[in-house]
């Protein structure tokens, strides 16, 4: 062991990038689904009478944003899984997933 260059070379060999497991993709989907469900529940619990109080206006909006955000992330996680299973048709899979999740969100918030 003699020089900085040697150490750098060894670091390049030792600190190789690590591929995550397939199971991690599934976990991400579940985590993001949880966010989506929580946002949908928030919307369901919110009663119309609360709309008269401007102090409550922020809550459903925030819930919708989180739900939408989680749905989007869910789409990408699903799309990635499908992409890994099939190298072709990835964009179609993404579009299908986006439609599925958008429909799901619309049903949940009753639009």
């Amino acid at each position: 062991m003699s020089s900085i260059q040697d150490v750098e070379a060894m670091l390049r060999s030792a600190l190789v990038p690590v591929e995550p497991s397939e199971a991690l993709g599934d976990r991400l989907v579940r985590g993001l689904s949880g966010l989506t469900d929580a946002a949908a529940d928030e919307l369901a619990d919110w009663e119309l009478s609360a709309m008269r109080d401007p102090r409550n206006w922020g809550r459903p909006a925030a819930a919708a944003m989180v739900g939408g955000a989680a749905a989007g992330a869910l789409v990408l996680a699903r799309a990635r899984q499908q992409h890994q299973r099939r190298n072709t048709g990835g964009l179609r899979a993404l579009e299908r997933s986006l439609r599925d999740v958008s429909g799901d969100i619309r049903r949940r918030i009753g639009r």
């Binding site: 060894m10 030792a14 600190l15 190789v16 990038p17 995550p20 991400l28 955000a69």
Partner: protein
Amino acid sequence: MGLVEDKRRLDGDFTELYRSHLRDVYSYAYYRIGNHHDAEDLTEQTFLQAYRHFERAQRESDGRPLRPWLIRIAHNLAANYYRDRSRRPQTHLDDAAIVSAPHDTETLVEGRQELAAVLEGVANLPDDRREALIMRFALGMDNREIARALGRTEGATKVLIHRAIRQLEEGLEAGDDER
């Protein structure tokens, strides 16, 4: 219409960020923490948190790459992980780095020992030096990106990395002398 389009664009951008950097975040988490189980937890939490703040981060990034921001989230979560559980990074990783090129048995054993010594040396460095080396060598980040992730200047980051390598070199030399 505008909101729907904005949302669609935002989702597309996050998809791209996720695809591009899942391996980066996971590699960072793995070398930072030292086992696959907790690295998966950390990676999951990083992306969940990233999505919650993605719109703002994108707005404020001014077109700069978001990888340093993503790694900074992982960095903060990892700091909480150690603070909450009073842990230190594992010296021995679940499975040490792979020697990719084929070698004869003797060379392979020597190579593995050498890599194990390097990984042990990295794990024993002070937190900021260890992180800088992980970002540079496992993630391939340049000084500017590392500086943003660590909240330092580029100059300070350059010095940090230099000192980290020096300290590691001294540690490896001391190990050689003992053997």
